[in-house]
Symmetry: C2
Subunit: 413 residues, 2 copies
């Protein structure tokens, strides 16, 4: 088995190691939830303070022009674009992921008149499912569900000439399993449907290429470290931009917002998907983080991410083998099919997560019975992986489920 | 005419004068756009820094429970409620005003099945009009327009048994004219329709009482000083809460969000109108401001607001009478019918606003030909009003429209 010293040596040779210094990480903590809420970049507090004290406090309304507040959805979107294989003018930042899913799906459906089915993933993150369910009910569509599991109906069975659009997550939030985007998009297009990707669990963890996809949405508070509830984003393929409609026709998406025209006339390009006033402080934090992302080599990031997740799987195999620990790996062993997280099923998953937190190893729990470990390769080290795997083995041996403290469910798990 | 010394004396006797010290106002500036972007409360930077550095940077995901992030839409909504005459559990904070208008109107329409008309105000703020227009197109409704102007179709003519809902602004964003909320709501209800109020230009400027209204929306970045793009809010009358649907069915509005159930089941009460992850930094700024609002006597605020706007009208009457200045007052002279702003029409409105800014008097321009002066009574003084009126008279005499610099339009006017 690999030693901790060998992990230290791998860290010394890590070409991305300098990035860790750009983040504030609480001392004594191994933070494995960068897939849920990214760590704080060291320069973010200063950037946010500048926006609060100078842009807002001193310059007040002049900042709409002077500090570029009005254009934040587009300028920020243009900075996110390279992270998902998109170009300038193709991405707009704003609202929450849920609102952007709503915008994307409602814009996609009219592109395929006569087709009345939306294909959704049984295992997709709940908001993706709920938003689609809501649109289907209101607009008179049928939802056809597919799954990843054995026996679940697959994508190809679901695709027919009645399918208007397909919404899938690139990486599954529970298992960390990863779709081959290009191949899925091609199959969906071959069936004449519109492809919408949710990139929440992949953008910032690996190179992503929207390729031929029609729409994509994602958040920026996970791997992209934009801060809690940071603005989400929406990609719209250039070929659709001048024909699609934003269902929520706010004035920020108008062609001439300061003409205060009586009727709606959509702005050119992706700007029509803007709606209301942008939460400027949230954009400040996100842009501080994007200053880091401009310098990240995503191929190297992916290599390190796979090295970390593979190392974790190997260590847990040795230190807490399934036969003894009760841990069942649900993440694909094949690195190509994996995102940047590792998840185990365990009947006592919840108390395990709570006991790990007491030892400074921060993971989370997802129904049903899943313990999730996220690996943000930008600031995690091989020694962190070593320490986490060791802690997991120790925690399971301590049988934390016997401790009432660890069984109590918090509001947010 | 009143003297500047007399204004100073009025300020000395102002029972609200201490509030000015709670705001950072740029020196040498008379800021008359608190109706557009409220000034920065002095304690906001510290509060935001705490959320960034401690809640996010140190406590990371633990803050969803520990710092109450999960409940921010409701806890913040409960703090806004007293400012609009609502009770706990009736207001939810989040998203933009535009998104909340979308939610309110789409929730209102199914409450009146068979009725296919939405009554909208010709002079309403553009986003209110556009969002209604978009919903009408998508959902197959007709928009019936009313106006404030002479000859425009009035509310009573528009109301019929085909009207599902009415969306109006309490205070007009251009003229500052104010509706009598109780009377309008009663007339709309008598016609069997749902009443939705937009409170953007009244909440925080005067006591507001949603009364019998069905829904209300508003922003918090104007009079409420929540910061640029701060979370908006939505009021839902308790009698509707268990029957209405949120059109954007995000997981934050689910009854059991951490059960990750496959299908949508709305949360009890107003929480069902939550959608995606709340922009936590923006809520921090807003809550710092709400700490001030807890201590404001809204009746006194209204008295002072009317004193300031009346004083401004009187001074401009004397210093820059219509006959000489070309300024036409479009705000009602009757204080009862007025919000907290004063607007004048002038064919050279835009260069006037730019020249005023050069003299440290910050107002804004709105099509067509309107110069708007907002009076945030929490931090403005009588001497500010005096200085603004004097500056306006001087600026007009200087004929700023002859100066090319002042004619150039900025992106955001």
């Amino acid at each position: 088995m690999i030693t901790r010293a060998e992990c230290e040596s791998l860290d010394d040779k890590d070409p991305l190691r300098a990035f860790r210094d750009e983040f504030r990480l609480p001392p004594g903590v191994v933070y494995l939830l960068g897939n849920s809420l990214g760590a704080l970049p060291k320069r973010t507090p200063e950037r946010v303070a500048h926006t609060v004290e100078t842009e807002w406090g001193r310059d007040l309304t002049a900042s709409w022009n002077k500090a570029g507040w009005w254009d934040l959805p587009q300028t920020t979107g243009d900075r996110i674009a390279p992270l998902i294989g998109a170009g300038p003018g193709q991405v707009i930042a704003g609202d929450s992921t849920s609102v952007n899913i709503f915008k994307a799906v409602s814009a996609a459906l009219p592109l395929r008149p006569g087709r009345r089915v939306i294909v959704s993933d049984l295992d997709n993150f709940s908001t993706d499912r709920y938003v689609v369910e809501g649109i289907a009910k209101t607009m008179g569509y049928e939802v056809r569900e597919i799954g990843w599991g054995e026996g679940a109906p697959g994508l190809d069975e679901a695709l027919g000439d009645d399918v208007a659009c397909v919404l899938l997550s690139h990486v599954d939030y529970r298992t960390g399993a990863r779709h081959d985007m290009a191949s899925v998009t091609a199959r969906v297009h071959a069936a004449g449907a519109i492809m919408i990707w949710d990139l929440c669990h992949s953008a910032g963890a690996m190179p992503v290429d929207v390729g031929e996809a029609d729409f994509a949405v994602g958040c920026t508070y996970k791997y992209l470290n934009g801060g809690p509830g940071a603005p989400a984003y929406l990609y719209v393929a250039p070929r659709h931009q001048e024909v699609v409609q934003n269902a929520i026709c706010g004035w920020h998406g108008h062609a001439a917002p300061f003409a205060f025209e009586p009727y709606y006339r959509p702005a050119a390009g992706v700007r029509r998907f803007a709606t209301g006033s942008p939460p400027v402080l949230a954009y400040a934090a996100l842009n501080a983080s994007l200053d880091i992302w401009e310098r990240v080599d995503l191929e190297r990031l992916r290599e390190k991410s796979l090295a970390l997740t593979s190392l974790f799987i190997e260590l847990v195999d040795e230190l807490a083998p399934a036969s003894r620990s009760g841990l069942t790996l649900v993440t694909p062993r094949d690195p190509e099919r994996r995102g940047s997280q590792v998840s185990y099923r365990h009947p006592e998953g919840y108390p395990i997560v709570r006991a790990l937190a007491d030892r400074g190893v921060i993971a989370d729990y997802r129904e049903p019975e899943l313990v999730r470990f996220g690996f943000a390769a930008l600031y995690l080290r091989h020694v962190d992986v070593y320490d986490a795997a060791t802690a997991l083995a120790e925690v399971i041996e301590s049988e934390p489920w016997r401790d009432e403290r660890y069984r109590q469910r918090l509001t947010v798990t």
